[in-house]
Amino acid sequence: MDLLRFITAGSVDDGKSTLIGRLLYDSKNILIDQLEALEKSTKNKENGEVDLALLTDGLRAEREQGITIDVAYRYFSTPKRKFIIADAPGHVQYTRNMITGASNANLIIILIDARQGVVEQTRRHSIIASLLKIPHVVVAINKMDLVEYSQDVFNNIVIDYRQVATQLGLTDVTYIPISALDGDNIVDRSTKITWYSGQPLLEFLEEVKIDNDINLTDGRFQVQFVIRPQTDELHDYRGYAGKVISGIYKGGDKVKVLPQDIETTIAGVEVAGKPANEIFAPQSAVIRLTDDIDISRGDSIVKIENIPKVSNELEVLLCWLDDKPLISGNKYLLQHNSRQVRAVLKNVEYKLDVNSLQRQPVDGNVKLNEVVKATIRTASPLVYDGYETLSENGSAILIDETSNSTVAAVLIKQ
C-alpha cells in the first residue's frame, strides 16, 4: 500500500467540499459520531438532507462566515492506497493557501462546474499546478446532474481545457464527468452518464502510477543534523543525518561535499541506526564519510556523476505570500531545505499574470498572491537544481527576519 497526496481546487460553489465529503462518505471513512454531529448541525436546515459539505467545514469562525480560512488536511484510505487530501479554499485571495497545499501534492483535482465551464479560477488553479509541477491533473467536471448528463457539455469543456493544458504544458490530464452531490462517478460508476467509459474518480486515484515521480537518478542529500554521540563506545562516530532528496547512495560511492567542493567516499549508510545496503529518496537516513571534513547543517553531499549548480546569484520565480508587500532591495532569509542564508532581492523583472501567464511590468511593490520573476543574491552559495528538473532541490522559502513570517515561495530557475 502506498501513499497519494492530492489537492482539490475549485471556485467557490464548485462543489469541492461536497466532493471531498462524498469521497470520505462513500469510501466509508466517515464514522458514526462524525455523522451524528453532521446530522445535528444539518437539522436546522430546511431540506433536512445531510449536507456533505459540512463534513469538511472546520473552524467555528469559518462556519459563521460560511467560508474556508485555511488549508485543511483530510485522510482516508482504501485497501489499495492511503490518501492525504489538501483541501484548499477557492477564493481568489487565498492563492497562498493553494500553493501551500499544492507544494507537496502528487496530483491535483481541478473542479469545474459543468454549467460554467472553464472560468478564470480554473485557469489560475491550472497555472499554479503547472508552476509547481504537480505531476498529475484530474479535471473533474462536476454538477453533471444539472446539465442533464450531457455528453456535449462535457466534450466542449474538455476541448476548452485542452487549450489551457497545452498552453501550460500539463501533459498528464484526465477528464472525469461527475456529480459529487449524487455520487455519480465518484466511487461507483454512474448509471446516468452511460457514454463515459473511463474510470470513476476513486478508482483512478487508486491506480494512477506515482512511482516514477520520484527521481532516483541524481544523488542529492542535504545535511539536517550531525549525529555525534560522543560516548565511550561511539567515540569517533560522526553521522550526517538528512533526507535523501533524490537518487540512491551506498557505501563506497564517490561523493562531493558542496559548497566546500571536497571529494570523498561514503563509508556507510544507515537508516534508523541500522546499517543499510543502500538509501534512496525520500528516505530519512544517515551518511558516514571516510574522511574527516568540516560539514554542518545545510551542506550537501552529492554524487559526483552529476553535480548540481552552486551559485549565490539565483534567477527565481517568487510567489508572494505575505500581506506586507515585497520591496525590491530588501534583505530576507532564504531557506532551501535545511540551509538558511541571507538573501537580497535584487531585480524584479516582470510580473506573471496568473490568469493569462502574460508577463507584465511591475508597477510599485509586489503584493500578496502575485508571482514575479526576480534575481536573488545570497550571502553564501546555494547548492541547487532547477525547480523544473528537480523540484525537491529547486524550491525554497523567503523569511522576513523582522516578523519571522514565511513571505514567499521560491522556485529556482535553471
Binding site: G58, L59, A272, S284, S338, N404, A409
Partner: protein, 302 residues
Amino acid sequence: MSEYHLNYLEQLESESIHIFREVAAQFEKPALLFSGGKDSITMVHLARKAFAPGKIPFPLVHIDTGHNFPEALEFRDWLVEKVGAILIVRKVEDTIRQRSLTEPKGKFPSRNWLQTYTLLDTIEEFRFDCCIGGARRDEEKARAKERIFSVRDEFGQWNPKLQRPELWNIYNGRIHKGENVRVFPISNWTELDIWNYIRHENIDLPSIYFAHERKVIEHEGQLVAISEFVQPAANDVVLTKKVRYRTVGDMTCTAAVESKAATLEDVINEIIATRISERGETRIDDKVTEAAMEDRKKNGYF
C-alpha cells in the same frame, strides 16, 4: 514495483524523522510532550530512530494531571529508563495550589483544561522554545488545519488566521523571544496508521490498551472505570466488563470500550471493524461543545 519504493508507513516514518531532526537543529531548547499514550510512545520510538545511534537530544515532559492510570505511569518510567531519556514531570496539582485555581467539579472532574496552565508554566520555567506534540490531523476538525510547525504567542495561543504557509518540506521555526513553536511530527498519521506501525515495529504499550477486566459504570453510553477519582453514585450500576482503552488520558475523562482484543492484531481488527471515531468514543469532554477543541487550542492547549 521497484525495490526503491517506500510503502505508506515507511513514508510517514521518514517524514516524521525529518521533522524531529529539524526540531533538534532549529531550536535551542525543545521538549517532547509525553502523555503516556500510544501516540507519544510512537513519537519516542520515532525520535530514537531519528537520532540513533545517539540519544534523543531533548527531554520528555509529562504534564501530570494526577488522574493517571497507574499502568501508564509505570510504563512511562520503564520507557524513560529503557531509552535513556531525561524525564521532566510537572503536576497540575501543584499549579492548582500555587495559583489557587478552582478544581473542576462534578462526577467526572476533568483537569484536562487546567493542564494548559501547568504546560505554560513549565515552558516558562525551562524556557522551552519548542514543544513537540503528538496531535494528529485526523483527530479533530481544528487540528485538520494546523501546521506541522505551529507558532504560538507568549500566551501559548494559536491563531488560525495567521498561520505561516508551510511549503514543500521546508519548516520555518524562527520565533521572537517569548514565543514558542508546537511541532506535530505525526500530523499526517491516522489512528489506524499508528496501530499498524506499532504492530510493524513491535512497539511496547501499557497493558490498558489490551482487553482486561475492570469495574465500570455506564455514563451516556460510555464506560467509565471506577477509580479513586471516579466514584459511582447511588443510582449507578457497577458492572465488571472486559474492556480496553483506545486512548490513554485521564481516568476521569477517558472512556473504555468493551473488547476481547488481547493482541495488537485483535486490536487492529476491532478498530477496522468499528465505526466510531477515536475521540468520539473515548473522550468524555469533547462532546460538550462542537467548538471545544478550537477554543482550547486558541488558549494554548496542546
